[in-house]
Symmetry: C2
Subunit: 306 residues, 2 copies
Amino acid sequence: MIVVGVDIGGTKSLAVRMNDAEVVEESRVELDRSLSALDAISRSVDSVLNDEVEAVGVGIAGLVRQGDGTFLWGPHVLGSNLQIRTEMSDRFGMPVHVDNDANTAAIAELRLGAARGHSDALFVSLGTGIGGAVIINGSLYRGGSFAGEWGHVQVDRDGLLCDCGKRGCWETLASGPALVRLAREVVSVNPDSSIARLLGSSRITGEAVVAAADAGDEIARALVTDVGRAFGQGLANLVAIFDPEIIIVGGGLGSVGESIVGPARRVLIDAVYGGKVRVPPTVRVAELGPAAGAIGAALQAAGEVR
Amino acid sequence: MIVVGVDIGGTKSLAVRMNDAEVVEESRVELDRSLSALDAISRSVDSVLNDEVEAVGVGIAGLVRQGDGTFLWGPHVLGSNLQIRTEMSDRFGMPVHVDNDANTAAIAELRLGAARGHSDALFVSLGTGIGGAVIINGSLYRGGSFAGEWGHVQVDRDGLLCDCGKRGCWETLASGPALVRLAREVVSVNPDSSIARLLGSSRITGEAVVAAADAGDEIARALVTDVGRAFGQGLANLVAIFDPEIIIVGGGLGSVGESIVGPARRVLIDAVYGGKVRVPPTVRVAELGPAAGAIGAALQAAGEVR
């Protein structure tokens, strides 16, 4: 079966066309902020559409109501109350499945990636924020609709303001923007430091800080480790809550691998409640890379047709 | 079927003998700290045992390994690595089921109490600490073994030291001991305050502070509200994670009802991520009172025989 999956972020989208479990085309679209979110989704679908496509899946960052495929709200996406399923079904004349982007990425990792062979797993997406998904008995556990929004667990009562408007959410300490904030701080305090010279005068990005760390810069490495430790502390919270066998770490920052996940894994052992008597979970980096969200959306779309 | 259930705390235990779903005898035993934990369990079972009893269930505060019914460790209980199931089966010559006390209380509330008729629910026990249980599809979700230990989610990075040895766990802010700590602080700063006169010179307990609040003392009410709000903030974290339909609040302090649960419920609406678009969960006080843990243990014991 030929299906399309798209993953819609705040500033870009990624689309795939799949033939059963195989990606046959992939396309990255920069989203023009002047486009409505629905037009952005359409454009992204169009970029890989052909006559053989039978269904479309959409993953989007934020709260999606499963019942009617409506995107309700998300702090990183413009627009709210978007009736994506209805609108896209009308535009493309085929079944459309809509889900939270962490859910779609988790489905992809479960079927084709790092969670293959597990019936229970947590998927934690670390990027602009922290999202996630709970896999129980081989399926997504959604609760009422929005389970897995643990990026907004408050871990620091008087902490930094979060994009969601609350203070001290986990993602204020562990995310791409958190890493950028730390790097900016160092660069502004010490413009002659090695990291300042490495990052230069251009806009600092999380990727650039990780690259500097991986290239051996000690300061960059300390910052990445700091974010990795804050990430691991939050994983310890999830372990106290779920006692999972395996945690898959994905997302733009999570996918960079050991420079972030290593410190998280190490802090987890010490930070978790009952660490001495627990079997610590396996913490594994996602395997499908940035396309996971789109791939999972496509797999869900295929499920709509079967 | 006639079965016995016991709930073992740090300083006291509660035992019930049940005939199917009906409690026919109940007994409260103060635990002498000189007794070994296994002898304390035996004594508690003995207090309601008769010749018709076919099985024994044990609920205990801490980490229990389901596979072999071993109590591994808990911050509020003396002893660790207790092979309760094996030892008690030998002593009483009948099947023994061992579980975490919040799990047993949740089972009781699910079958006979406030969660009746729900297939998915969170049970949150608020007392000396915070424990809990996850009900999914009508059964306990245990993860590897120890799911629901959310009292040890770190909500305040530089916060107070917890009984578990870590800092800023949810239960450092929301628990009986947290309420006592606040009351002591007020009384020591202002020994002429109304609450100081109400509580007198005897040892301050959480129950006494709640009683003073319910009797109309404004300061006591403010303290109980403060703990209730910290409790509600943590519930908001659980809602972001599970998006549950219903949360049952039990335990010694949780069971006092609206003076604690009211402020928690109110703060939840404002503190939860995506509160505007979420259907807020029902937060209901447990119905079975302090015997819930023992009743659930008995129900699990009956399941061992059937």
